[in-house]
Symmetry: D2
Subunit: 341 residues, 4 copies
């Protein structure tokens, strides 16, 4: 039994972690904290936990984290983790950080896109980027996981096999992303209220979203060139799910969709959470909702420049908490699918 | 041309007033104000007004209201109007107040349910309750209209004909009300954000909602007894619309639904915005959406105690701004349906 | 390992059964059938099952059901089960029937409300009504379970403790029910399409819904009188969940809400899926969604006639497939919560 | 007063035409027909028309159309108009056809994408493509208007100014389109039911949608080359609205967004329904909903290849019935905005 804590337990990612970990036979939740006014039973915040998890959600306290837990899931807003992590690592805790604070090796990009000075830059190089499909071996031995962002998870998984197989031009990558509203977090804001979001649809942060450098950095690691992408996220009136429609330019116009599909199948052949669709079939959010799967579909034709990759994930699972538990399972030698099906 | 202003122009009711009044051939909008940080063109707040209404939304200023307008629509949160109205009446402005501040003759009830001391109680008796179906003659001459609440509009219109015809017991009235989310106003609040409201449904303020005394006072005016009702409002994940399912006890079990329907038809026979459904047909929100209609359907059987009345309105039109313009049309001698069809 | 089949696997209840049973350590799904054109892998119908359940969904065939399964979940439209069940019982299969075909002891009511002649009336008395909170001991030994309807589950669980404790009048029970749209089944119909349902809300089958006699029959079994109820269901634009607001008349006006709550707590004290809310707190659909819980909240005051009980369930879980698996767990001696948390 | 009829009055476009034309001071609706079982008052189909439009919706009958109307709006499924139009033109009716039957000059494309032989090809050249921003002078004198599709309206208006100003490459146009669900028509279909669409999101007809050749043909008319586009439509769980995110490649990398904006402003400077957004602002569906506006926003930077144009319209207004009435206003010399604000 691994004693784990969740810091930031009342946000959407924290809540989802509670749900998954309650099903996990190798885990005991021993600590919950959040930015709240005073300690309160978690079952008063999430009514459906009544009779299932009767512990107190506390105010964050390093000492109690260290004394009660072996591993911490940190589901905090960006720029908060970087203050807490150095202390916690010293106390020998393992950490899976769902924020962006340790995802970017390039500190300048972090400071530009998150508009803040990094407070523990020395630790960044210790962090392993927690995308199992790319870094499983490093994850096994990691003490600090930088759990990927929701958009980057879908984007990187959708582009990388074609990039590594050298099938696409690297200077004209376009990601048109559509996200459900939990992606915006549990924050009171006039733009977030139901009657403003319902029956509406909009693009936001057009080509300036903070997840862009994360995708670019990961793609660049597997390419000879520094890769720049174009990224337009849209907010959709549904609770969960991300669909990314990715437009790529083939190096060889003659390439057919069957060949693409077989490249992706080979790349992901042992992956427990990647599903490749056959020609003319495309993923939809419904098929990945409440699962940790990442589904991929493809369009191209011999003679056409364009390769279209459509990727679907549940933003709170493969895009956040599900992936965090997948990483946890890898770190502790559990079956990678444990509690994720 | 009547020069009108809207105070509280950025809330849902204020926005709806702008939309209606822009279509009104006898109205010029000459003033807009709201609780904002600094003056800003209204078309920057509501993008769709670009090219249609290019005036500045200002911070509230009594003097400018008085100098620019002949009549003011006040679409403010409760407890704000009562500070402004005494001054404005002195300046000879006519006022249609969409807040609750002058709806209740019984000041004690106001102070209990709105939890605040009334600041201009001397003015309450000057106000006419702006439900045209009951008070049309008084509205014609009114200087201050207390525009009814959304739930009370539906509830009173649904119950009153049976009450006045002495068909129902007065001690067992139950209103089960369902409201779209604009009824909660444009307010940032953790409970109002999309992902909390979408795919959820709940009752709130069970039998303690502040619209109860308003319904009770109006019903009591037409009854020999002081009437107490039971009222359970529910929040529904849709933008607009109210459906009230009203449970009444017939005095005479033998009464058939056809007789009920003919009583209501007679009561409302000249009303431009009331529609009575035939037996076995019931109103739905879709049929009143974006209209000022109030639709009524009925269920009972000879031999059964219960009479069920189902009422549907658009909460922002017949439940707020549409009714306000209906009152305006009556006050100024326009066709009562002007700009409301 | 119990080999089970699902007949009607492609409807909402059948789909939900697949999801639950895939998590169940004591179950193997060995047979699926549905009214389809030709056999097809279930993972082509429900894309998210790819890689998780790779069996063929067949056309219904009694012989294969009998040879491949020990128990059948029958998730069929009403009036279909009653043709198949006699044969299957003879083949010694156990059956959990989610349709209404064996729920009503009173055949006349069945034939009136479902508008069809019953084809196996001799079997009705063998069926156990599958509400564990009332009939757990009988369920243990049952060969045929008539799994309750969604509205009746919430209604009966909300009323029965007060009825059995003789706290309420039996002639003035009102249930105002609100249901998500999966309750209408997976049927193509002009009234069911997204743009007709979204942003709409309506009552339907006012006091003539086929679930009324089911509630009345169960309540009457525990009362000296034959009980008649009033029942108004409403369709809400959300996928899942039922909220019932139940209006009851207390026999003793002096009764306080605390006393009511303690009666319900005592009644349900050992129940694994019933949660009683404290005074002034009320259940919402969000808190039971994707769970098998039934949550109950209460309003009344000393001096008032009315007792309001608010009940929330997930219509596809406690209202259908979750309850079916709860019954299965009881029949086979599994922990009653197995795969339902 | 122009006597007009609506053929296909019960679909979404037909319904919207009724709503608009009821407000139009120069129009009398004298005829309605639809594919229905028997004649029925239109107010029984659309309850909200009670007391507003009390005419019978009939079965289609050429003679009655010709004797009762001067102009017909035909809001029929594709491939139906082409049978009726030749007869009606002979009877001297003017026709605004909302279907695709006369939109494509290239009959081969029509027959390929609509999968049917054209039945009145001789008439195609008489039809004027009803996009007022391009063909206003021809529309004035037209007898047959081929009213544009919803996706093409947004796509053509978004691309054409840059194309005509020769600012973009013509071989790499990508339209990522998102549409509300009324775009799918009022058709019973298992994929269209609420619980399948709600909380889902998917791409469909990836690069094979029948609106592609329509966009390509119109763009090609204004270009030296035959233009091929890439087009990926997505279905969004909202009732109305289209948002298109268009990815274009600039011929001159140095071009700044301000220059683009001024090209578009000049192109559309007299247009009553086009609104150009300033730099860093982008349209959203909410701002065009229930209006006939087409809003346009832009992203690019000096040094970047990509120009992103975001376009929003209401699919039932500027994308269908609003545009049809705009064409009607032009044909009959009404103010072009009449009944459309």
């Amino acid at each position: 039994m691994v004693n784990v804590g969740i810091v930031g337990a009342t946000g959407y990612a924290g809540e989802e972690l509670i749900k998954i970990l309650l099903r996990h036979p190798g885990v005991k939740i021993t600590y919950l904290s959040a930015k709240i006014d005073k300690p309160i039973p978690i079952s008063e915040i999430f009514g459906y936990l009544k009779g299932r998890l009767e512990i107190i959600c506390e105010l964050p306290d390093y000492k109690r984290m260290a004394s009660l837990c072996e591993l911490l899931f940190m589901a905090l807003p960006h720029t908060v983790s970087m203050e807490m992590v150095p202390y916690l690592l010293k106390e020998n805790l393992k950490i899976i950080d769902l924020s962006a604070d340790y995802r970017l090796r390039d500190i300048k990009n972090y400071e530009k896109f998150y508009n803040v000075k990094h407070k523990s830059p020395q630790i960044i190089k210790e962090a392993v980027y927690g995308l199992p499909e790319l870094y499983r071996e490093k994850i096994k031995k990691a003490k600090l996981i930088a759990n990927p962002g929701c958009y980057p998870t879908a984007g990187i998984l959708g582009i990388l096999p074609a990039l590594i197989a050298d099938l696409i031009e690297t200077d004209s990558i376009i990601i048109d992303a559509k996200s459900g509203f939990t992606g915006a977090g549990r924050k009171p804001d006039l733009n977030n209220i139901f009657s403003e979001v319902n029956e509406n649809l909009k693009a936001y942060k057009v080509n300036i979203h903070q997840h862009m450098p994360e995708i670019e950095e990961q793609l660049s690691r597997f390419s000879k060139k520094k890769i720049k992408i174009n990224f337009v996220p849209h907010l959709i009136p549904l609770n969960r799910g991300i669909l990314e429609t990715i437009y790529l330019k083939k190096k060889d116009k003659k390439l057919e969709v069957k060949e693409i599909i077989s490249v992706y199948k080979r790349f992901y052949k042992k992956e427990p959470f990647i599903r490749i669709y056959e020609e003319k079939k495309f993923p939809q959010i419904k098929d990945v909702l409440y699962t940790n799967f990442c589904d991929l579909g493809f369009y191209t034709k011999a003679g056409e420049d364009l390769l279209i990759v459509i990727v679907a994930i549940d933003n709170l699972l493969k895009g956040a908490s599900g992936q965090a538990v997948q990483n946890f399972n890898i770190m502790y030698g559990f079956n990678e699918r444990e509690s994720l099906l």
